[in-house]
Symmetry: C2
Subunit: 202 residues, 2 copies
């Protein structure tokens, strides 16, 4: 049996609204069977998330996490540090900037794990996933209107929170798949050394 065709092509596009942060669109598309449908979605500049690894004197690891109130879900969420790309920004530089701004840490070694698409039914958002180690503490510099608590946990604690529902943020849960697979040795990363410099705009 031949699998059904899947692709949709754009026939027209209408801007639904342009907000301070979100822009929404309604496109009319041609479906694989030739019929027409509409697709509503928001455009997003893309983002990064960072899994910061702290080596302990006994050889074990801890991770750096944040608690942040997320208004749309009306909850304080446990998350890995993350942030939006500025226009044209290199994702690695964004990851270094966000880690420094939100946690104060600069890292001497970085590795890209991959990307995730966050809400494929209605958002263009892609998140670049980085791991950071060789952490050097420093000062934070939060954006105006940004409030968060930085804390540390062991990977075992974090995995327990994923299992028992204390961690429900999809980007953080996806990072935990990577973390778990790295800790068991099932997956690997290619690390590159970076000067632990202060991010350019600090």
């Amino acid at each position: 049996m031949t699998p059904p065709p899947l692709l949709e092509s754009t026939l027209s596009r209408e801007e639904l609204f342009r907000g301070h942060f979100l822009t929404a669109w309604r496109d009319t598309v041609q479906l694989p069977d030739g019929a027409q449908a509409t697709r509503e979605y928001v455009t997003h500049p893309g983002a990064v998330v960072v899994v910061p690894l702290l080596s302990q004197p006994d050889g074990s690891l801890r991770v750096v996490l944040e608690r942040q109130y997320r208004y749309p879900v009306a909850q304080v969420m446990i998350e890995f540090p993350a942030g939006k790309l500025e226009l044209g920004e290199d994702p690695l530089l964004c990851a270094q900037r966000e880690l420094a701004e939100e946690t104060g840490y600069r890292a001497t070694q970085w590795a890209k794990a991959g990307v995730m698409h966050l809400a494929i039914a209605y958002s263009t958002e892609v998140i670049h996933i980085y791991f950071a180690k060789g952490l050097v503490p420093g000062d934070t510099q939060l954006d105006e209107g940004e409030f968060l608590q930085v804390f540390q946990a062991s990977p075992d604690e974090l995995m327990d929170w994923c299992r028992n529902g204390q961690v429900t943020d999809a980007k953080t849960l996806t990072c935990c798949l990577w973390l778990q697979q790295l800790l068991t040795g099932a997956w690997g990363l290619e690390w590159t050394s970076q000067p632990a410099q202060v991010a350019p705009d600090l």
Copy 2:
């Protein structure tokens, strides 16, 4: 050091637009320091995702997946079966309905793994995560304008695709954390038996 307060409270709400599928809002909020800010977000009815497990004659497992073109990211995505809650719908009944409609399978055993929040910066969406086993094949009944390919993979194949970037859908990656932890025995599920009946509206 006392951690900074995090909560934000709603001062006013403005509807930005009401689409066929998305509704967007801009709220003015009071920040923890008393200042004001705006929060733009879309409201979503909630959704389910199902990890369908197929027992093989040799005792191994395979999972049921879908390929679907996702217009906002302009890619054919590999995903677990998923769908939106209808108004007031029980998430388990929605999971049974979506699994049957999209893949044709009815399952005799169901377990809820947890929930994830998908895009906490700008969406209210919560996704309920279910596992299904004891699968009985049947007919699919796709929604109008819905085109997808159903296929099977081993957990090892799926994990390889997560690692090498062939799977980038955040809800599917989050399900893979659960799947991996279940397969190693690190986490468990509470299964309940359900009649493998045809979903009510089929």
